[in-house]
Each structure stands twice: as C-alpha cells, then as structure tokens.
C-alpha cells in the first residue's frame, strides 16, 4: 500500500453529541429474530441503526456495503 499517500488526520476524539448513522443488514432467521426478541424483552440499545432485512447474510453483496458507505453511513453492521 502506498503508505506515504495516506492523508494523516489528527484522531478526533469522539465528539460530544455525534450520532453516527449506521446501516444494518440482518439475517431474517438469526440477527433479525434476535433484534425482535430484544424488543419483546424491552432491552434498550442506541437508536442509530437502520435495518435492512435479508434472508441470510450470504445475500449481502460487496456492492451493498460500499454503496452504504457512499450514501453516508458511518458504519455498516452485518448480523448473521
């Protein structure tokens, strides 16, 4: 990798109030089900993730992930 080309930036500390936008791809049978069950049990977790349901994580194409980042996702969470 052309190391010298890496644009060095000062590591910015977690900004107060920064709410990342995260896209999730959840497997219908596993993670999506676990997420439903978390709801049923009223567990609480941060509201930053938007979910796309797929029938299996195997469905996820590299294009989807790259496209998600291009569309401004700060993170992509694939859950099998």
């Amino acid at each position: 990798m052309a190391q010298q080309n890496v644009v060095k930036k000062e590591s910015e500390m977690a900004q107060e109030g920064f709410e990342p936008r995260i896209l999730g791809f959840f497997c219908h049978w596993c993670c999506y089900a676990a997420a439903d069950s978390a709801g049923v049990s009223r567990y609480q977790y941060p509201p930053n993730v938007r979910v796309i349901r797929v029938m299996c994580t195997g469905r996820i194409d590299a294009r989807f992930i790259l496209e998600a980042f291009r569309c401004g996702a700060d993170g992509v969470f694939t859950g099998g």
């Binding site: 997420a35 439903d36 938007r50």
Partner: protein, 900 residues
C-alpha cells in the same frame, strides 16, 4: 352508535369490573367476531320490554329483538373440552380484605390497570383516591395451596404472573416499592427461573418468603403482618395489595361433566392419568388446557394441539369428509403492472408504538414520499376491523403496493399478505417497516430519536415497495411419512400418534432398546408402575403396521425441506437413506451427573433415579437405614446449570413417600430451595409433611455439605428456623440431580435447529408455537425441549404429532416465493453458485452447447449466497432483488443518495 345511546350502564367484565360500558358493546378492539353484542342480563328491552333505543339508532338495522335462542343438534365424531378455569370465590378473597377495602385488587384487575387499553390507559392508580401508590404488596397463593377453601393444589401460574405484573408496574412507575409474598417461588417453566431472576435484579422487586394471613386497613393504608422462616414477626403498611388469585375448576364443571358423562377429580377438574393426560374417562371426549389441571399458556397450547392429534387419530378415516375450501379472487394483473400507487399504514399498536413514536408525524412524513397516494394511522392494524378497513382502502384508492409500518414481518407479514390476497393482489406486494420490536420497544427512553428512526424505516420500506413485483406461489408435494428421532416416551408417543393418524413413521433410537429415561423410573408421579407403562408402549410401537423401528441407529445427515426430506441413517456401520416429509425431535435428556456432595465416594450417595433403580432391585439396602437425606437442586438453578429442572421436587416427594411406605420409621430430611410441587402434586407434598418428612430450606450461598467419613456419612447444613448448623448422620443421601440436555449439538447442526443457551432445542415461539422449531417441517417434544414430567412429555409428543401430521394430511406445502431466479442470458455457467449453495438448490444444466445454472425452487431457501457471488449478476432473489436492496440503501440517507 348503539353503545352511545344505551341508557343502561353495565360493568365492563373484560376490564375486570374496573370500568363501565353499556348493554350493547364490544369486549375489546381485537375481539373476534368483532361485532357488538347486547348483554342480555342488563338490557332493558330484553328484561322489561322497554327502551328499544338502540334498535332505532342502528344505521345498519342490525339489532333485532325478535331473535329467539335456538337449539342446534350437531353430529360430531369427537368432543374436546377446553372450558378453561374458574375464579376463586369472593368469599375467600374477602378474608384478605377484598370487597371491604377498595385498594385490595385481584391480580386480574391489576392486569387491566397496567394495560394500555385498560380502564386507566395503563396508569397505575389506587381505586380509593386515584393516586399513584408508592408501596404495593402481592400476596401469592390466594385460593391455592389452601385446604381451608378446598383448593389444596398449586395453581402453577400465579408466581409467573405476579413477577410479570410487578415488572410491568415498575416499568410504568420506576419508583414503586413492590414486595411479593411467596410461600415458595415456583417459576419452573422453561426459561422462567432465569427470567424471574433477571426481573428481580433489574426492577428491584422484594421477595419475601411468608404467607400473609389477613389484610387490615389502618388510616387509609393496608396493614400486613407476617412471620419469616427464621421465626421473626414483621408488619408494614402498603398503599395497594394485589391478590394473586389461583385458578379454580370452571364454574360449570359439574354441568359439563354431567352433560358429557365424564368423571371429575377431587378438585372438580377433569380426571386424567399420567400416561394419557388428554383423555377423559369417556372415549371420544378429550380435554385440554386448564380444565385438565391449572396450567400456563404454552402448556395449554401444547395440550390443545395434543387433543387435536388424538381426535385426528380417532377419526382418521373421516378426514376431509366435511371440510370446505376457501377460494381467493383472481389477481388484478393490470393494476399490479401500473405505476406504483403506495398506501402506508402506520400502526399505533395501542401504546406499544404510539407511546414512544409520534405516529401521526410518521404518517404525515410518509405522505411526502414519492409514490405514496394514501397514508393513514391505525390503532391496531392486526385487528379484524382494521384489516377489513385496510382492504377497503386498498380497493377504494386502487393501491398496488402497501407498506405496513407496525411490528415484525416475522410474525405479522403473513396476516397482511392474506389481506392482499383476499382482494385480488399478489401477497408479495406488501412490505413492513418494523417500528415496534426494533424501534419503539427498544428506544423507549428516546422518543424523538425513535420517531426519526421510524421515519427512516418507513422511507426505506417505501423505497423497496416501489420495486416490489408479484411473485408466484409454488407448491410441492409431500412425502407422506415422518422421521421421529429418539425412542423414549416422547418419541414413541409421537410415533404412535402419527401412525394412528394414518401415516408411516420411521422411529430412530440411538441405544439398543426403546424406552429412554422411562427405563430407569420405578413409579410414575401418580404412583403407577412405570415399567408397565413402558412395556405397553413398546408393545404398541413394535406391533404397529405404520411404524418401522431402527434401534442402535443414528441420523447422519438430513437434506431437503418440509415435505421432502432425505436422511441418512447409520446402523452398525451401514447407511440407509430414507425419504420423509417431516421430522420430530424427541432426543430426550439425561440426569445431571452431580459434582461435589461426595457423589461417587459411597454407594450410599445416589441420585433419585439411582434410588429408584435400587428400589426396583429390592429393598434390602433399607434394612439398617435410619436417616435419609435428600438434597434438591443439585446441578439446577445456578448450582451448575442455570435452569430449574422442574421435576425433581415432585420426584423427591414421591420417593420420600414410597420410602415411608416401605419403612415408616425412617427419618427423611429434604433440603430444598423452593418446593416446586406444582398443580395437583401439591397433594403429595402436603401428604409428605403430614407423614413427618422434614423439609428444610437452604440458600445457594449456604449449601448443605455431604461429608464421607471413615464410618458412615454426615450431612451438615444451616437450619434457618433455629439459626444453627444441623448435623445429620445419614444412612442414605439422595441427590435430586437435575435434568441436563442430551447431546444435541450435532443434530442441531445437521438439522439447523437452534439450541437455547442451556443446550435444549429452541421452540419457534415460547407461547404460541411451543412444539415447532424455526426450521419448517421440524417439530419438538419431550426432554429435548426442556425438563418435564412423563405426563407433560406425552401431551407434548401428541402436540408435535398433530403439527407434524398437518403437512402430511395436506399433501402439499406452499414454498415461500423468495427463491432465486437465474437469468440464463447473463449466466456464463461458471458453477460458482452451484458449489456455494448450502441447500443444493442450484444445478447446472445444458442449454444448447453451454452450461447454465438453474434453481430447484422447492429446495431454495432464499438465502441469496448465489446472487451475491454471481460474477455476472445474473441471479435475482424474489422479494429481495438487488434493485430493491439498493433502493433501500439509497433511501437510508435522509437527503437521498443519487445513483452513482
């Protein structure tokens, strides 16, 4: 309208008398049928021939007072009794201040108070002054475990509902101080003990082990006094007292018994036996649910399916002789092909969603999205009348795509798909946005952010909806036979039931003989000879023309899908392939092997099953015995395994009584944490106490010690009552070892059926699908599901048999249309998809000179690994096309994201 005009107020029984309605009313919003009815007891017209206001105001002219009761005569092949349970007499409740003090409520009333659709919209207030109470006490065992009111049994559900109601109350009012007064904490169901522990820790609910004898009122507060296990007296004041009332036999039990000519037991429940828990004393009359004995929802549902199996066994010859079939209108293909006209329905789900998410804002936002022509909010989208109105609106507005923004598609999509079908639209044209399970419920503390998220989810769903296309509904034929894995009591019962219903069964048992754990049992819990029960069962199985038994065999592999499985069975190194339509998992469990307690150091330190085996061989070893010590929860409830093994308390009491019978002068000590002799087994517990068996409670931090000495065995334990250590020289120590899961891991992988963290198989839904597994066509029963008694295993096996027979009886199964489809023009025949498909559902075929991939629709599960790995992007997935997912990704960005 009629409700509005009725001059006659009526107590609302649905809301447990906490609210008032009118003579014509509807019980609750989701009631089925969802029409209004007139309470004949209260109506002025019916009783006094006056009024008639409602009939005049009904715009539909639907009230007709000239209707008379009619007697119908129906010819049926079987009767299933499911009358449920009755309520404890007010007279019993009055002893605890009910009816005298307004702030003493029954748990049923409290349930309505905590409910969002209840009389107070979920606000917990004292009936006396409408103020929020600060301190609430739950009193357990009201009308249960109480011979003075004739109910000597344990109602088996109150401990759970009390914990639930207390948790819900704490969620509404976090500052509440809640105490629950238990005699024993009986949360013995699957996963219940763990849930109870979590609730206790999370919400800080006080657990007090004491029975409160009475309730008094002092200065507008309720005074309780009680005595704890250490003999100390306590008293305190509470703002509200909730009575955890038990379940009684139904009020009309005697009438039912007379009319159907069946016998009742001494508590007026239906009499049944351990080896056939769903049969009444009269042939063809079956029983399920609380009338068979107090029980919770999953058990009632299990028994219900079990009863269906038995009725189906009885009437197998007459199957399909009287059924009618439903027809759907033809699809409106032209409308489906038009530009998307999307309707968005945003559900309140009572306050489940609307309590957190600003539903109206989400609805209005949906209206701004391209393609949306209708946007509305609904109170409960899944209720009958809401579905009807959604259907009407789809028609009125000529919608051809629908977005339901409500709960999870995993549970509710089929319902809305059905609605579309019923009005001539392809079911694939509905998309759901999950703003409840994955939004409102999990972001309850952040309503603004939850509303933002809900909007985003709706936007993404609408984006996908625009690209939805109609999909075919393929069906495949079913191989009409079953594979039952496990030859214990559960497996044999399931096999017999399926065979009796007229289908072939292959029964596979790993060991050399049938029987499983039942082989080790000497007596059933109701005192029958266990070996006789077992022998009868084995005889029937071996003689049945529809059952083929494979002992000493194992399942090596399973391929296929519901309706068309192919499995490899290995026996003595040889492999045999069999085809079958369904699978029943009855792999059993095993007795936990104790760690510690000097187990293994002496032949006089044994488990309960070892004791029964010893007794089966003769009673000689009791000759010089004086003291017998039993220790409960060995391995269970956080000792090593987390779960409660459910059975050991009853088993210990049963064996203690048998020992007493054999040698009355024995001193028997039982060290326990909570005695969980639920249901009618409470009788055994009471009997054991009566006969002088000594019960001593211990806690996990002060476990009894078993010390093997050079001569004899000593048990040292702390006795709470005297506050001192006890030392008992024991002639025999019996460890109530819990029930551990069998070796399920491998099978779980082969079948892709998930396990719980404890290693038992996981059911598809704890309440409503207790014998189904997440994999279609696979069913579950017996100890493979979790610890349970023989009686429960048999009922569950019948239930699994009912569910397993459904696809066999139908002869066809519908395949979800989410399968892959290969565009053979784009396919280059590389074979990557074929080699990656986990279900062998893609093959290469010759088309002209070249090889092309092709999907075997019936095998495809829609996982999409082929599509994501296709070099030429030639494979698309039904309902999850690249375009649709890309559209969702683009819609993920609030500003929208242009295609690159």
């Amino acid at each position: 309208m009629c409700t509005m005009y009725c001059p006659r107020p009526v107590v609302d029984t649905y809301n447990e008398r906490l609210d008032i309605t009118r003579a014509p009313h509807i019980d609750y919003a989701q009631a089925i049928p969802s029409s209004y009815y007139i309470d004949a007891k209260a109506c002025l017209r019916v009783n006094y021939e006056t009024c008639n206001l409602c009939a005049q105001t009904c715009t539909a002219g639907a009230i007709d007072f000239s209707q008379q009761p009619k007697e119908l005569e129906l010819k049926v092949g079987a009767v299933v009794l499911t009358p449920g349970f009755g309520r404890v007499d007010d007279e019993v409740l009055e002893r605890f201040g009910y009816g005298r003090f307004p702030d003493v409520l029954t748990a049923f009333e409290f349930e309505r108070l905590t409910c969002a659709s209840g009389p107070t919209e979920g606000h917990i207030v004292r009936p006396s002054d409408n103020q929020v109470p600060k301190k609430i006490a739950f009193l357990q065992c009201i009308g249960s475990r109480d011979e003075t009111c004739g109910n000597g049994y344990c109602s088996s559900v109150c401990c759970m509902y009390a914990v639930k109601e207390a948790s819900v109350a704490k969620e509404h009012e976090p500052d509440l101080d809640i105490s629950i007064f238990f005699m024993d904490v009986r949360t013995m169901g699957k996963g219940f003990d763990e849930a109870r522990k979590r609730a206790q820790e999370k919400y800080g609910i006080n657990v007090i082990r004491a029975r409160v004898p009475r309730v008094d009122q002092v200065d507008g507060k309720l005074a309780l006094t009680w005595t704890t296990g250490d003999g100390e007296h306590h008293s305190d004041l509470f703002d509200m007292v909730v009575l955890s009332v038990g379940l009684e036999s139904p009020e009309d039990a005697e009438t039912i018994a007379r009319v159907t000519d069946i016998e009742l037991n001494h508590y007026n429940f239906c009499r049944t036996s351990v080896d056939s828990p769903l049969l009444s004393s009269r042939g063809g009359v079956l029983v399920a649910g609380a009338f068979q004995g107090p029980k919770d929802i999953p058990e009632s549902v299990t028994q219900a399916s079990g009863a269906a199996a038995i009725a189906s066994e009885l009437l197998a010859d007459a199957r399909n002789s009287q059924t009618v079939t439903v027809t759907y209108p033809d699809e409106d293909k032209a409308l489906e092909e038009e530009e998307p006209r999307i309707g968005v329905f945003v559900c309140h789900c009572g306050v489940n969603i609307a309590g957190v998410v600003d539903v109206k804002a989400v609805r209005d936002y949906a209206g701004t999205l391209p393609g949306v022509v209708l946007y509305e909010d609904t109170l409960y989208s899944c209720s009958q009348d809401a579905l009807k109105s959604i259907a009407e609106k789809i028609k009125e507005n000529r919608l051809n795509r629908v977005v339901i923004s409500a709960c999870s598609p995993r549970t509710h999509e089929p319902l809305f798909q059905e609605t579309l079908r019923s009005i001539g639209l392809n079911p694939a044209l509905v998309e759901m946005a999950n703003i409840r399970d994955q939004c409102a419920w999990v972001h309850a503390q952040e309503p603004d952010k939850a509303t933002e998220k809900a909007k985003d989810l709706v936007r993404m769903a609408v984006a996908k909806a625009r690209l939805l296309t109609p999909l075919d509904q393929p069906t495949v034929d079913v191989t009409p036979s079953a594979l039952v894995i496990g030859g214990g009591a559960a497996g044999m019962s399931a096999a017999l039931s399926i065979a009796d219903q007229g289908y072939k069964v292959v029964l596979v048992e790993r060991s050399k003989e049938l029987g499983g754990n039942l082989k080790r049992l000497k007596w059933t819990l109701d005192g029958q000879d266990a070996s006789k029960v077992l022998k009868d069962m084995i005889k029937k199985v071996k003689a049945h023309k529809n059952i083929q038994v494979f002992t000493g065999s194992q399942v090596e592999s399973v391929s296929g899908y519901v309706g068309n499985f192919t499995s490899a069975l290995s026996r003595q190194g040889k492999t045999e392939m069999i085809n079958h339509g369904v699978i029943v998992l009855a792999t059993g469990g095993r007795e936990y092997k104790p760690k510690g307690y000097a187990y293994g150091d002496s032949t006089r330190i044994v488990t309960q099953l070892e004791l029964e085996e010893k007794l089966a061989r003769g009673r000689g070893f009791l000759r010089n015995a004086r003291n017998v010590v039993m220790i409960q929860c060995v391995g269970s409830r956080g000792d090593d395994m987390q779960h409660c093994s459910r059975l050991c308390c009853i088993q210990a009491v049963k064996n203690a009584l048998k020992l007493k019978e054999l040698k009355p002068e024995l001193n028997i000590y039982i060290f326990y944490r909570d005695m969980r002799t639920y249901g009618f087994y409470e009788d055994l517990y009471r009997e054991a106490r009566k006969q002088g068996v000594k019960f001593i409670r211990y806690t996990l931090d002060r476990k009894p010690e078993v010390i093997k000495q050079s001569r004899g065995i000593k048990v040292r334990a702390f006795d709470e009552l005297i506050g001192e250590d006890l030392e008992i020289p024991a002639s025999l120590v019996v460890l109530s070892a819990g029930i551990a899961p069998g070796e399920n891991e491998e099978l779980s992988k082969i079948i892709k059926a998930p396990l719980t963290s404890e290693g038992f198989f996981l059911e598809a839904h704890a309440k409503l699908r207790p014998v189904e597994v997440a994999v279609d066509g696979v069913y579950l029963c017996g100890l493979a599901h979790g610890p349970k008694s023989l009686e429960e295993s048999v009922a569950q096996a019948k239930a699994a048999a009912a569910k397993a027979t459904i696809p066999l009886a139908k002869g066809k199964v519908a395949v979800a249309p989410i399968v892959s489809k290969v565009d053979q023009d784009k396919c280059i025949g590389c074979g990557i998809c074929e080699s990656l498909c986990p279900f062998n559902a893609i093959v290469l075929e010759k088309v002209g000179k070249r090889k092309k991939a092709k999907t075997i629709t019936a095998s495809c599960k829609g996982c999409g690994v082929c599509a994501s790995h296709c070099p030429t992007i030639a494979i698309s997935m039904g309902g999850f096309t690249d375009e649709a997912i890309m559209a969702q990704i683009h819609a993920f960005s609030p500003e929208g994201c242009e295609e690159a």
